[in-house]
Amino acid sequence: MVPPLITTLICALFFLLSSFVLAQESPYIVTYNHYLEEPGSLEVEYFSTFGTQRAGKDFHAFWMEFEYGATAWWTTEFYVDGQTTFNDSTIFTGFRFENRLRLLQREHTVNPIFYIEYEQISAADKILKEVEGHDVESDYAESNAVLRCERDHELEFKLLLSSTFKGWNVAVNPITTKNLSPSEPWEFAYAIGASRPLALKALPNRCNFCLENFVAGVEMYGGLGDTQSAGLHDTSHYLAPVAAWNLPSDWTLRLSSGFGLNGNSHRLLLRWGVSREFSGFGEVVRRLFGGRP
């Protein structure tokens, strides 16, 4: 039972945050481009991944993201992950804290962003936000009771390289991850994406179904081995058509169906997500701390 005071406060917060802006979000679920959150804006996102599992039970993994634009060159994010393995259980699997920093002030042909993430997750985490090193489908075949016993503390680094030309965005993310346990090797991975809005010119009227609101593309991601055993053997890879629908009411819907490209991959990762951007969140915080309107 939620106390009425808390309900009222939550409603008041949403009311205060009622001056929204349209999010112009990319359709990628795994790949990052170089666009950061607008300063002072908070984006709240929910994502689901339904995955098939050979020699095990299918699952539904989910995560919440809170993404805040601290400045025009720094975005910080907090994730909370969980999953349901069908005919097994539903568990909380960990959290992630990430930061993205814009390295160059202006727009260039290729724009680099430095990404650093700390994650504390269990081996039962199945959101597959990154597929790294020698991650393969059989890693997830055990029951939740077994998988959740292994807990990982990892640091993940990415260089987000992204370019936009003639409406097309192309993004390439080399990834390296270090499990903070000293015996664990550095793992490598990649994510590549390309996308384009369905229309490049905006219509003068406000509309939900204008082509300019839809972005479609494709992304590919997978592991590249680790420092002890680099290469493509025992790695999994996915190809995923992606689409996003940016609504004028500040909601964004994303859909992606990832297909495993080899025998080590899940056959299908069906993902969808919904997000809403709250512009002026920083201003609300400032007012809470006594700033002038």
Binding site: A70, F95, R151, K201, R206, G291
Partner: protein, 157 residues
């Protein structure tokens, strides 16, 4: 024991998150009018950073009322929070009715929109497509008291 440690870690990270938001919010609160003036001035200075080649770019939608209206819609969605509903400026973004902005060539405005003024808080807007950025430029240039480009007085909405 593990769950206790996890809970503690989550608590610490949540506290860091709250602190970060509070820090940014509080820092904004510390801005006074002088700082705002300085910020606006530096934004206008960014207009001078545009390279000659960029300044000379022609607006493909020059004088196009429909493009100005579409640009107005995009401005409402993306720019009004910082620059104000009527583009007159707020504590977060400079006035776009100012002479410096209104006198700038379309190419200069397009360049600033594309590259942002990142250190001063204006993000890059290249995530809007090139035609959309030109539509915003067309809208901004229609805001002048008597726009020679469109021949219409005041904002086109």
């Amino acid at each position: 024991m593990t769950s206790l440690r996890d809970s503690f870690s989550i608590g610490v990270l949540f506290a860091i998150g709250v602190w970060s938001v509070a820090f940014v919010g509080a820092r904004s609160a510390a801005q006074n009018d002088d700082a705002l003036h300085k910020k606006n001035s530096s934004t206008y200075l960014a207009l001078k950073d545009a390279p000659q080649k960029a300044r000379e770019k022609r607006n493909p939608f020059q004088g196009d009322l429909e493009a100005a209206a579409a640009g107005g819609k995009l401005f409402d969605q993306h720019g009004a929070r910082c620059h104000g509903k009527k583009a007159g400026g707020t504590r977060y973004g400079a006035s776009l009715l100012n002479e410096e902005v209104q006198r700038a060539t379309p190419g200069t405005l397009f360049w600033v929109l594309t590259n942002g003024v990142v250190r001063r808080g204006m993000p890059v807007w290249s995530k809007l497509s090139e035609p959309e950025r030109w539509q915003v430029v067309t809208f901004l240039q229609s805001l002048g008291p008597q726009s020679p480009k469109t021949g219409t007085p005041g904002p086109v909405r």
